[in-house]
Symmetry: C2
Subunit: 151 residues, 2 copies
């Protein structure tokens, strides 16, 4: 364990203390919520491993662990949509991170071309008797994935 992170302590130390004791799960990952510093919207949800978290802290740019590619993922390295971290928070039991980010350019965070990965709504508040239909939010793509991801 890096000396930047402390080993997990007592429940009191974890919840009330000022020591940073992030909990990495059995796969060595901690979930991270990224919201837009500009709009407050949730842009994306991803995971960091210890290296990604350390690089994020050191550089101020969001790094994740890509579970699909199995590699460190400097967000924006291929798309150009780098995420500058303006605030990082940890939750009460220190097993989840929340970062506020400023995104280079058009604020896009989703590989589908939208600003946010959460571009569809689920209808709530009724007892559904059949499969639910998602609703597209009133949002336009800010880029065409074909133009950005060449391979």
């Amino acid at each position: 364990m890096s000396k930047v992170f402390l080993q997990r302590g007592s429940k009191e130390e974890i919840e009330d203390g000022s020591g940073f004791m992030p909990k990495f799960d059995q796969n060595g990952l901690i979930p991270c919520i990224a919201t837009s510093a500009k709009t407050g919207d949730v842009l994306m949800f991803a995971f960091m491993n210890e290296e990604a978290l350390q690089k994020t802290i050191e550089t101020g740019e969001a790094h994740y662990w890509s579970r699909s590619r199995g590699e460190l993922w400097h967000k924006g390295a291929s798309s150009g949509f780098v995420q500058k971290v303006t605030d990082m928070r940890v939750d009460c039991d220190q097993d989840c991170l929340w970062i506020s980010v400023e995104v280079t350019g058009d604020e896009a965070a989703c590989h589908k071309g939208y600003q946010s990965c959460f571009y569809r709504s689920v209808p709530v508040g009724q007892k559904p008797d059949k499969a639910l239909n998602l609703n597209m939010n009133k949002t336009e793509k800010v880029f065409d994935p074909k133009d950005i991801y060449k391979d």
Copy 2:
């Protein structure tokens, strides 16, 4: 699988379609981010299983799966801080949910008495040479946990 949720389809169906195909992980859980409909702040991060998600959709009140207690968790049932869901969204690959909630009373979501579980900041943007110190955000407890959780 409930008929409310569809079985996972092709990548195109999952990312571009209007069918709701939530991905539950190997433990039968899907992560859920809850933000305040009033302030936009991330209040908490938790998991839903199929039953919790279905109850949330049917009742419009957030239900989670408590991993520590191993039971369905109607948020606010003991504390009174019920979360009324004003919007639910699903992300591009349908393996994460984001709900906006209105909280009964003092907006508290955290068992520690704070409005948000994310009451501490992690310093970012410097190369740390020693263990990081978390900073308390400028936030007051809105209740004393001892007054709410009697046992």
